[in-house]
């Protein structure tokens, strides 16, 4: 194992979790959801950007608590569900799992490393869409297509955006 991989995969030190003010925890997800419902209406090319998902991943990995992560993801998902025409719970379940696994992953990786953030952003985008596709088919019986190429491309774009976006959100953190 070389120095680079050691830097990527490291057992976190105690007290390396970050906390956020209540305003940041409420306003940032709301702005992300507002972005999704509003901005994509005018700039269709920006619809690829799944800000609620990136916010879920960010808060989950930074708080480094699977319970906090699953609640953050669950709440963001439920708000998204309530603004969609699907029954409440589909995106809630998906984002609960995303939050939980992102927080669990953050316990093993150096989450301030841009490469790790890129990989996590990419992985959880694919995971989110794949799980959503499975649930919609299995629980709602809807026929939905899973375009692998499109999802991978969008995951790549989201992962690229995740690096500066997470850096921006870093300004809001308060060391716990």
């Amino acid at each position: 194992m070389n120095e680079f991989s050691e830097r990527l995969i490291q057992v976190p030190r105690k007290g390396s979790a970050f906390s956020f003010g209540p305003v940041a925890l409420i306003v940032v997800p709301l702005v992300a959801i507002l972005y999704q419902v509003y901005v994509s209406k005018f700039f269709e090319f920006l619809a690829f950007l799944d800000l609620p998902l990136l916010v879920t991943v960010y808060f989950s990995i930074m708080q480094r608590s699977p319970v906090a992560g699953l609640f953050t993801g669950g709440l963001i998902g439920l708000v998204q569900d309530s603004l969609s025409h699907q029954p409440l719970g589909i995106l809630g379940i998906v984002k609960t799992l995303v939050g939980y696994f992102a927080a669990s992953a953050s316990l093993r990786f150096d989450i301030s490393n841009p490469a790790v953030r890129f990989i996590l952003g990419f992985f959880f985008f694919v995971f989110h869409h794949f799980l959503y596709w499975i649930l919609v088919q299995a629980l709602l019986g809807q026929d939905a297509a899973f375009a692998v190429g499109r999802v991978l491309l969008m995951a790549l774009l989201n992962a690229v955006v995740a690096i500066p976006f997470f850096t921006l959100l870093d300004k809001l953190r308060v060391r716990g």
């Binding site: 709301l30 959801i33 507002l34 999704q36 419902v37 509003y38 994509s40 209406k41 005018f42 619809a47 609620p52 699977p66 319970v67 699953l70 609640f71 669950g74 439920l78 708000v79 998204q80 569900d81 309530s82 603004l83 969609s84 025409h85 699907q86 029954p87 409440l88 719970g89 589909i90 995106l91 809630g92 379940i93 609960t96 799992l97 939980y100 669990s104 869409h129 959503y132 629980l139 709602l140 809807q142 026929d143 939905a144 297509a145």
Partner: protein, 354 residues
């Protein structure tokens, strides 16, 4: 030991949260009930912000448009006299005003023309679920909007209301993969079920292969779905393919041609007659009767009669008008002998009729 306990605790919480959401989901699917209160809360929080942002956006865009128009005018000012420039600016401004008013005017004209009672609505946001074609509009239950109401534009149908909140409503567009509506073709009066596909093209399903549908033929709402009043334009057939049991008909919708900013919600729909189909005037050539048949007809010889002919003859003998029979003009136009040409739309000749 501590770490293990912590891991199980996390897993337990995860399982509880997932189970709770699964129960919530199962309740909704099983009872077919929507948790309206929860959705109202979210929409109530998001809609005013979206309306505010939309207002700001419209104002800002207007300001910058005017600003750039003004900048252009300044460049022209170097070359033209002040008065001419002023007039040009004014002209430009009026043109902008007109173009923005065009959509509103089209809606107003349509509103006057259509017998249905409608209300104008502006699209304020998209819905969040992936791949869905659902939008929010700024009219809600306070204005009388209810789920199941049809949403149209002057060009054609655009979608249907799937949820109504106090100050906003959710509209499923015709392009959504779960959208469906009853339609009928203009020319051959073929009924089918219109379905969205998640992108720009729609399909008409359940049209048996033996029925005739042509490329370029228009489809209208049939009124069968109890959502859209009969006679609203839907779209034009782009591709027709023969499937196994049903035809594969692809349609380009009219309703979303002019963009998606202003819509009309039909509060009280009135069915309209379908536009008259352009019937093809096919002429048929009738061969002359064989000589013996022509002679016997001229001589008034008895020919085969049906029950209908006998009833008809009884009517005539009694001096009463024959139901469903055309006037004498129509009868005299009917060919008796010789090669003649008649329109396909005319009634066939009744054997034995004098």
């Amino acid at each position: 030991m501590d770490f293990r306990l912590s891991r199980y605790r996390n897993l337990t919480v995860l399982l509880i949260v997932i189970a709770a959401q699964l129960l919530l989901l199962a309740y909704q699917v099983k009872s077919n009930k929507d948790l309206h209160a929860v959705r109202s809360l979210s929409v109530g929080a998001i809609a005013p912000v979206a309306q505010l942002v939309e207002g700001l956006r419209a104002g800002t865009v207007g300001f910058f448009k005017d600003y750039f128009v003004l900048l252009n005018a300044r460049e022209e000012n170097r070359r033209l006299r002040d008065e001419v420039t002023k007039l040009k600016l004014e002209n430009q401004f009026l043109k902008n005003e007109l173009s923005t008013a065009d959509r509103a005017r089209a809606l107003a004209v349509f509103t006057q023309r259509t017998p249905s009672r409608t209300i104008g609505a502006r699209v304020i946001a998209n819905a969040t679920s992936a791949n869905s074609k659902v939008v929010f509009v700024d009219r809600g239950s306070d204005e009388g909007v209810r789920p199941g109401m049809a949403v149209v534009t002057p060009d054609g149908i655009a979608g249907k209301v799937i949820a109504a909140y106090r100050n906003a409503s959710q509209v499923m567009l015709i392009t959504d993969a779960t959208f469906a509506a009853g339609v009928i073709s203009e020319k051959h009066r073929v009924h089918g079920a219109l379905r969205g596909q998640g992108h720009g093209t729609l399909i008409v399903d359940y049209v048996p292969t033996e029925l005739k549908v042509e490329v370029g033929e228009r489809f209208y709402t049939s009124g069968d779905d109890r959502i859209f009043p009969k006679g609203l334009p839907v779209g034009e057939v782009k591709v027709v393919r023969a499937g196994r049991a049903y035809k594969e008909i692809f349609i380009a919708p009219y309703g979303l041609l002019g963009g998606l900013e202003e819509l009309l919600i039909i509060l009280e729909g009135v069915h309209q007659p379908l536009p008259a189909a352009e019937t093809t005037q096919v002429s048929y050539h009738l061969q002359t009767l064989p000589p013996d048949a022509a002679q016997s007809k001229q001589a008034g010889a008895k020919v085969l009669m049906t029950d209908a002919d006998r009833v008809r003859a009884q009517f005539r003998r009694g001096g009463a008008p024959v139901p469903g029979e055309r006037g004498p003009a129509a009868q005299t136009a009917r060919p008796e002998t010789g090669g003649n040409t008649v329109q396909a739309a005319e009634a066939p000749e009744i054997p034995g009729q004098q």
